[in-house]
């Protein structure tokens, strides 16, 4: 075979220009055309020992699906992905590919890697355009019943995998819409809700039952679920927002990122008053944090009409935990970065409303436990940033509702449910956990990876009864 000519760069994906997109909620990138997808897939070198698969937390057969895309067999490609990943339209959009499959791509050594994420997204969208998603053949029912708590990425993955093994699965969702963080947290412009709904419908088409408005820990305890189900999977996420514990945090106009994004996304406050839920449309909005959630909040503020959206982060840009693409998108849209700044107080206008954020300037010190250089405040360097809305996006931990109502469930630092890494088993017989409830705030794909591990272990447990 003739040696393949290497194309150094990824096929660009067309996207909405920044000046246009800050005035709407439509998705930023448009996605590849069939022609662009095939051209991009042909960049794959078809390595003898591909490393990309190992870079994927759910182990998608990446070279296999790239080959099918290159040949124009999009049906074959999407079917192959779905053998291991039930939610490709979602992971193709929100996975940190640059630090997973694409980082492992051999092309990375000298050039840009194959745009695996964009191609995954392409084939999932291609399938949706063909009409209703085909349902795979299911094995005969095993008669075993599993309760899945939470319908986010971890719960949906567990449910799909177990349903495809013939188990009867019921998902319990606390909110009125399924999808967890995919519907309340990630904005429409990054992950359209119609796509989440499509993937949820697909999981339900496998025979999975979905019970909404059901709060485990309130509507029923884990022990009550165990009386009815053979196993329980906790995928309830990390919903408890962190605050800074600085003065003024309870002034009106100070939001947790959870609240701000839930109002905007799940409750569609951006379409107020057509939709009832209000949200503060501040002129000057400050978001505190440097992760993906902070990027989502500061970009949402712009779309809600903020004249200025400022991101305050305590370290430098290099240490920001957000995806490079998200940081880049935020900058393009006009989010201003105030780096090396630590908030020390929020000041009000005397009527209980936010007026300004007081910060200290930081210097970077020695690396800390996270390996990143530690921010050290410079005493006396206080400065003020005017603001009428402040959003706190510094992280979250699991909700204490379930641990509180399940006394024999072991939890660790930050309230995360303790699990065995190889099986996702908790300290309680018959109960498994995965995703943010077991890791604290992490990524969609990590949650899905843990969901897959749990599904295998749950299947084993249901078959043998051995704990």
């Amino acid at each position: 075979m003739a040696k393949k000519q290497i194309i150094p760069h990824k096929t660009p994906m067309p996207e909405q220009p920044p000046e246009q997109r800050i005035h709407n909620y439509n998705e930023v990138p448009y996605g590849y055309t069939a022609k662009q997808a095939m051209a991009e897939a042909r960049r794959c070198l078809e390595c003898a020992k591909p490393k990309c698969i190992a870079g994927c937390p759910v182990g998608i057969n990446i070279p296999g699906f790239l080959k099918l895309v290159a040949e124009g067999d999009f049906r074959g490609a999407v079917n192959l992905i779905k053998e291991t990943n039930a939610l490709p339209a979602i992971t193709g959009r929100v996975c940190p590919q640059e630090s997973q499959c694409e980082e492992a791509c051999i092309l990375c050594k000298k050039f840009e890697p194959v745009a695996i994420g964009r191609l995954e997204r392409f084939v999932a969208d291609w399938e949706a355009e063909q009409g209703p998603l085909p349902v795979p053949a299911l094995p005969p029912p095993t008669g075993k019943k599993v309760a899945v708590v939470g319908s986010g990425p971890a719960g949906l993955t567990v449910a799909a995998d177990l349903a495809r093994l013939g188990h009867h699965v019921t998902i319990f969702e606390a909110l009125h819409e399924a999808g967890g963080v995919l519907v309340y947290g990630i904005p429409e412009f990054r992950l359209p809700k119609a796509i989440v709904r499509r993937e949820v419908d697909y999981v339900c088409s496998l025979g999975v039952k979905l019970v909404k408005d059901f709060v485990v820990g309130a509507s029923a305890t884990v022990d009550e679920l165990l009386a009815e189900f053979d196993a329980v999977f906790l995928g309830s996420g990390a919903g408890l927002p962190w605050f800074l514990n600085i003065p003024g945090e309870n002034l009106s106009g100070v939001y947790s990122a959870n609240e701000y994004l839930t109002r905007a996304n799940l409750m569609k406050a951006y379409r107020f008053p057509e939709y009832d839920t209000p949200i503060a449309r501040g002129r000057r909005v400050i978001t505190i944090g440097g992760g993906n959630v902070a990027m989502d909040a500061s970009r949402t503020a712009l779309r809600l009409g903020a004249g200025e959206s400022v991101l305050v982060y305590r370290r430098s840009r290099q240490e920001m935990p957000a995806r490079i693409e998200e940081i880049h998108h935020a900058e393009e849209e006009g989010v201003q970065f105030k780096l090396l700044a630590s908030p020390v107080a929020i000041h009000g206008n005397g009527q209980g409303q936010v007026e300004a954020l007081e910060c200290l300037q930081n210097e970077l010190g020695e690396p800390d436990a996270s390996g990143r250089r530690r921010p050290v405040p410079v005493q006396g360097s206080n400065f003020y940033l005017p603001a009428d809305v402040v959003i706190i996006a510094i992280g979250q931990s699991p909700s204490p509702l379930i641990p509180k109502s399940t006394p024999d469930l072991e939890t660790g630092k930050g309230g995360v449910v303790t699990v065995a890494a190889e099986t996702m088993k908790t300290s309680k017989k018959g109960v498994f956990a995965g995703g943010d409830v077991a890791t604290g705030g992490a990524t969609v794909i990590l949650a899905m990876g843990q969901g897959k591990i749990a599904a295998r272990a749950i299947n084993q447990y249901l078959k043998t009864g051995e704990w």
Binding site: L175, V215, S219, L251, S256
Partner: protein, 290 residues
């Protein structure tokens, strides 16, 4: 979907609905609440569970028409459905035999104070109840409150029924004459009323419990919008409450947070009323030729 099985107009602006909600009814206790959403466009609002029937799988909701959502909810009839009823949420009221207790209900607060008064009475307490409203038409459940109270005091601001004036007045008299004998006080009603009840009882150090209906979105401890500032730090009304020690609450912050969306609430109501008017006009046009 959660069907409305019964509807009752309790006063000019207060309505009662019995709703089929099996997963709430089987767990509900006095003092807890549910999150309700009317339709696809609706916001999620917290409403106290006024009563529940495990066998019939129903809960009773009582609400005051103040803004767009509650006014729209008031237009729903038997057979209509609510799109979301989630719960039961929050801690139930801890019921014990405390001795002599006072239950104060202001306006729509009469509804949630009733099951608490009833439970306290059943637990052997001597129950003194004070219920008040702006005017006689807004008082309801007088018979019910009478049936669970050893003493019942009615108040109306305009003197149209019972004593004239605010619920604070008879409370002051009770404190002046029998403070040593009062074990606990519950107050549920407008935030301003609960604030003044708490300020009134504080010098006497009679434990005073208030039930706070704050701005909420999810109701499960996720949004933090319901933050209540207490002497010893902030707590979430949805998972740490809804009942709190009234003497510890920072009422100014609470009142300010409750006011935050006032302007948008007016806008939402105006928008909805305009839609209703347009619909009526459209219907009238269709009906004329017939």
């Amino acid at each position: 979907m959660y069907q409305i099985l019964e509807k009752e107009v309790l006063s000019e602006t207060v309505k009662l609905m019995v709703v089929k909600a099996p997963q709430v009814a089987c767990k509900a206790q006095a003092g807890q609440f549910v999150m309700v959403r009317i339709d696809e466009f609706g916001e999620r609002i917290p409403l106290t569970i006024a009563d529940y029937d495990q066998e019939a799988e129903t809960i009773t909701l009582i609400f005051q028409e103040v803004g767009k959502t509650t006014i729209q909810m008031g237009t729903l009839e038997v057979g209509d459905e609510l799109i979301t009823v989630m719960g039961p949420l929050g801690h139930p009221t801890p019921i014990e035999n405390y001795g002599t207790v006072v239950c104060i209900g202001g306006g729509v607060g009469i509804a949630p104070i009733f099951p608490i008064a009833r439970a306290l009475k059943e637990a052997g307490n001597y129950v003194i109840s004070i219920i008040g409203a702006r005017t006689a038409n807004l008082l309801f459940w007088i018979d019910r409150m009478e049936s669970v109270s050893d003493e019942l005091i009615l108040c109306t601001d305009d003197c149209s029924r019972g004593r004239g004036g605010l619920v604070i007045e008879p409370l002051k008299e009770l404190l002046a004459t029998r403070a040593n004998n009062l074990a606990r006080i519950w107050a549920i009603g407008p935030a301003v009323m609960m604030k003044f009840v708490s300020l009134t009882t504080k010098p006497y150090q009679v434990p005073t419990i208030v039930s706070l209906n704050t701005v909420m979105v999810d109701g499960t401890g996720m949004c933090g919008g319901c933050r209540v500032v207490l002497d010893d730090g902030a707590q979430f009304a949805c998972v740490d409450g809804p009942e709190f020690d009234g003497h510890k609450v920072d009422w100014d912050i609470l009142l300010s947070r409750l006011q935050f969306y006032k302007e948008q609430e007016r806008e939402a109501l105006a928008h909805w009323l305009e839609l209703q008017a347009q619909q009526e006009q459209a219907c009238a046009l269709v009906e004329v030729p017939a």
